[in-house]
């Protein structure tokens, strides 16, 4: 995008996370120094800066001092540690003097790009509107220019002029800051504390200075490290092309002269090439370390593969030892969950258990409500019954019995059950349809993946089912893309997809939470009807006791990863035994009262 050869500037940085606490930020430098990679990079870069600044005193000789007796001297020869070039100039001295040129280039690129990019990004992100639109357009245009070609064109007018060239490069690279700052500001701008500051009457200037700049600082520092790396690459590249000032040595020009002399003194190419590569690499690695430090969510909480294997093996052994004497579930129980324990890596090599041994029986024709506040582990149970827990989740013990067979015992059993015998109705209808395929295409494909059907048979069946779930013009909806239908319709489509394969069990994870109130009742009604018609067993995960009262037969109440109470809906609503259930009931009644 910039013509910086091979250097990736991460143009699509994800929207940065909120800033860490001030206390954490103060110690960023300390944490950076504690990180071996960060400390090494920083030390190397400081060394390079020092060499550049101190070259008049440190360099053995001046940059253009020639010693004819040392022409093409090999490295490590007396007086010429790194050898001498084709004109007998000391390469070490030239590189040291050349470092000044590089430093100058970095400063210019950084100042120009930060001033232009950050300022325009702040204005665009904070005030939005026309400025944002036009600035974004300009930024897109600039990003589609090959920088080096423009720099070469510039040379035709200005001759060797490092200041002009690097200022232009700063302009070319400014969009990376613009995009980063704009997206950060847009996300911060809607935060409550910015609203609060406005209400209190702080001026825009103060708000930007106090709240917005703090949010922008971290990402800008990270990005600067990559921008400086790009600046060094482009400066060396321009000088390597011979467009630099011949009187002034630079890393790029030393490289060029050594390269032209490669047949006479091959080793001399190594030093400038190494210096340029190491400096750029140090900057990029430093940027990566900074990103990890400042955006703590960037590094995921993972366990080593070996530890994962150990834990799941333990779980299997545990299940095998208890499976000998499971309390035989009653005859009409289709799905039975026994002693299920689920955990997640806690980021320190350990595991945090979120479900502590849950038992659950679902009978044919029964709607089994699983209620609890968010974070109580109810969705985890639902996902584990389908084998669709997130990748990092761990099943630590227990079994999931479908007609008496433990699905956790082998991936094959789970695969045979998933989608065929146990189906899933998700929470957010709009994000659960693949945006790239028409409704018809994705439903047909899903059905044919589990049922041996021709395309026509599958389409006939699905069109009939779409009509059944209350979609008026199934043929038309079949040809639409997900973004062209409403949320309620999308949820009906998803229900249709779930029941199409004639499953025995449906796991519905908060199926109405994301819908309008009027649509909610219709969807619940539909689920109830389908349940009765087909003799399905259904697990309905919800936090809404109203939903439970509406359609559930049986209910399990979850709290902190444990099922604390279970029973018939009527008796449980009548006389809750557990304090938690009482609390839950009374709080939901309070909500109803206030709503009325």
């Amino acid at each position: 995008m910039t013509g910086a050869p091979g250097l990736d500037l991460d143009v699509d940085l994800p929207a940065p996370e909120p800033e860490p606490q001030p206390a954490a930020r103060r110690s960023v430098l300390r944490r950076l120094l504690a990180n071996p990679q960060g400390a090494c990079c920083l030390a190397f870069l400081l060394f390079v800066v020092f060499i550049g600044l101190a070259s008049p005193w440190l360099a053995p000789v001046g940059p253009n001092v020639t010693n004819l007796s040392a022409v093409n001297a090999p490295p490590f020869s007396p007086h010429h540690l790194l050898g001498a070039d084709g004109s007998g100039r000391d390469i070490l001295s030239r590189l040291m003097w050349g470092t000044r040129e590089t430093l100058l280039a970095c400063v210019i690129v950084l100042v120009v790009s930060v001033v232009l990019g950050v300022t325009s990004g702040l204005i665009a992100g904070y005030y939005r509107g026309k400025f944002e639109a036009s600035a974004s357009w300009v930024s897109d245009v600039i990003m589609s220019l090959p920088g080096i070609v423009l720099l070469i064109a510039l040379y035709a007018r200005t001759g060797p002029n490092i200041v002009a060239a690097m200022a232009v490069f700063g302009l070319i690279i400014a969009p990376t800051y613009f995009r980063l700052v704009r997206s950060t500001v847009v996300s911060v701008r809607n935060e409550l504390y910015v609203d609060a500051a406005k209400v209190v009457g702080l001026s825009d200037f103060r708000i930007v200075g106090r709240h917005v700049l703090t949010a922008v600082r971290g990402p800008v520092i990270i990005q600067s490290s990559f921008v400086i790396a790009a600046g060094i690459a482009i400066e060396a590249g321009v000088d390597f092309l011979g467009l630099g000032n011949p009187a002034q040595p630079s890393w790029g020009s030393v490289l060029q002269q050594s390269f032209n002399n490669i047949y006479n003194n091959g080793a001399s190419v190594v030093w400038p090439a190494l210096l340029i590569s190491l400096t750029i690499l140090a900057l990029v690695l430093l940027g990566n370390v900074l990103r990890d430090l400042l955006q703590s969510s960037a590094h995921g909480k993972t366990l080593s593969p070996r530890r994962r294997r150990e834990l799941s093996q333990q779980a299997r052994q545990h299940a095998a030892s208890t499976a000998n004497a499971p309390p035989a579930p009653p005859k009409d129980v289709v799905l039975s969950i026994r002693g299920l324990r689920i955990g997640y890596p806690d980021g320190n090599g350990g595991v945090r258990e979120v479900v502590h041994g849950a038992d659950l029986d679902v009978r044919r024709g029964q709607v089994h409500g699983l209620v609890g506040e968010s974070g109580s582990g109810k969705s985890q149970i639902a996902f584990s019954a389908l084998g669709i827990l997130p990748k990092e989740a761990l099943i630590l013990g227990g079994s999931i019995l479908l007609d008496g067979k433990d699905l956790l015992a082998s991936p094959k059993l789970m695969e045979e059950a998933r989608g065929r015998r146990i189906a899933y109705v998700p929470q957010e209808p709009m994000s659960n349809l693949d945006p790239s395929f028409t409704i018809g295409a994705q439903l047909t494909y899903g059905l044919r993946a589990v049922k041996n059907m021709t395309k026509q048979e599958a389409e006939q069946k699905l069109l009939g089912l779409l009509a059944r779930v209350g979609i008026n013009n199934p043929e038309r909806v079949f040809r639409l893309y997900p973004h062209q239908i409403s949320g309620g319709m999308a949820q009906r489509v998803l229900i249709c997809g779930a029941v199409a394969a004639d499953p025995d069990v449906i796991v519905a994870d908060e199926p109405t939470t994301a819908l309008d109130v009027t649509v909610q009742a219709e969807v619940l009604e539909l689920l109830r009807e389908l349940d009765d018609e087909r003799g399905l067993a259904m697990i309905l995960v919800t936090h809404n006791l109203g939903v439970v009262a509406d359609i559930c037969d049986y209910v399990s109440v979850m709290k902190d990863g444990l099922i604390v109470e279970r029973g018939d809906v009527d008796s449980l609503f009548e006389s809750p035994a557990q304090a938690y259930t009482q609390e839950l009931l009374s709080s939901s009644r309070r909500v109803e009262l206030t709503e009325v």
Binding site: P5, V141, I262, P426, V450, Y481, A498
Partner: protein, 312 residues
């Protein structure tokens, strides 16, 4: 669809006008300077003035730009100040060299970085742990340094490939192949490293989407979820990566050509810039702007083909 394409084409033309006008202003802003450059330092002020008039540099800038633009449409970009050759004929001998270099690298990048990125995202584990640092390394080191390393190793030490020069494929296909192997390789390292990292991100991003979980829950086998649904949805961001990579490749190729003495636009722009040969430089800016806009347009069209939401 027609309006979509029209909108994109209008946008591309607008960008080209903006870029060429900006460069034109920069290039022709100082008519006296150009004439002095053409005539040399010994020229008298009177001779310079005559040259300014002869080259039409005394006209208002906008008129000069209009004439140049008229030339663009009629296929006449003027002639080189230094050689007197028509700019179009100079370009037609140079552009194909750079373009083949860029296209070959781009195709290889597309294939390899998709494979690597998808493997790293889907399998994770050791593949990911090996690929991650390699991609940082590969993307950080400038292509011309890699090129120098390759020349040093393969052309000078082991003599597997010719160090420099270019053989047209119309003369000898094998000669052409061996003349572009090292340049392509030099560009490929950084380009794959950068693109694979982005593809990995795009695939990981798609894998975390809700609908992927729902598709799995529907009983679709994992391999088909990935090849049909995940790749299709990751293709949009992937295409953006490739079109940005093309721009970076043109920049990289310009410098690389110097290392391998390839007679492409890099070499041409360097000579023209040092000679102050403004018509040739303008022609080069036009050509690169056109290439970039065509690539962006193709990227947008391909994106619209895979992403129904992008068709507006």
């Amino acid at each position: 669809m027609f309006w979509f394409v029209l909108k994109k084409v209008v946008r591309a033309v607008a960008v080209m006008l903006l870029v060429t006008f900006a460069t034109f202003t920069l290039m022709y802003g100082n008519g006296q300077g150009i004439a002095r450059e053409v005539l040399g330092i010994q020229a008298t002020p009177a001779a310079i003035q005559a040259e300014v008039v002869r080259l039409g540099l005394n006209q208002p800038l906008i008129v000069q730009y209009g004439k140049w633009l008229h030339g663009v449409v009629t296929g006449n970009l003027g002639s080189s100040f230094s050689t007197g050759q028509a700019v179009t004929s100079i370009l037609s001998s140079r552009v194909p060299v750079t373009l083949t270099l860029v296209i070959v690298t781009l195709v290889l990048t597309a294939v390899l970085s998709v494979l690597i990125g998808v493997a790293a995202a889907v399998y994770g584990g050791w593949i990911d742990r090996v690929i991650q640092p390699l991609s940082v390394l590969g993307a950080a080191i400038p292509a011309f340094i890699i090129a120098i390393g390759l020349v040093f190793a393969f052309a000078i030490r082991f003599r597997f490939f010719p160090a420099t020069g270019y053989v047209s494929p119309s003369l000898s296909v094998s000669g052409w192949l061996s003349s572009i192997t090292l340049p392509v390789l030099a560009l490929l390292v950084g380009s794959i490293a950068a693109a694979a990292a982005q593809f990995r991100g795009a695939v990981l991003d798609t894998l975390s989407k809700d609908y992927v979980r729902t598709l799995r829950a529907r009983g679709i086998p994992e391999s088909r979820v990935i090849f049909r649904h995940v790749l299709r949805n990751a293709a949009g961001p992937g295409l953006t990566v490739l079109s940005l990579q093309t721009i970076a490749l043109i920049g990289g190729a310009v410098i690389i050509e110097q290392v391998f003495a390839l007679p492409g636009i890099g070499d041409l722009s360097n000579t023209a810039a040092q000679a102050g040969d403004v018509p040739v430089v303008m022609g080069l800016v036009l050509v690169t702007a056109v290439i970039v806009q065509v690539v962006n347009l193709l990227g947008d069209l391909a994106n619209a083909a895979v992403n129904p939401k992008a068709r507006t």
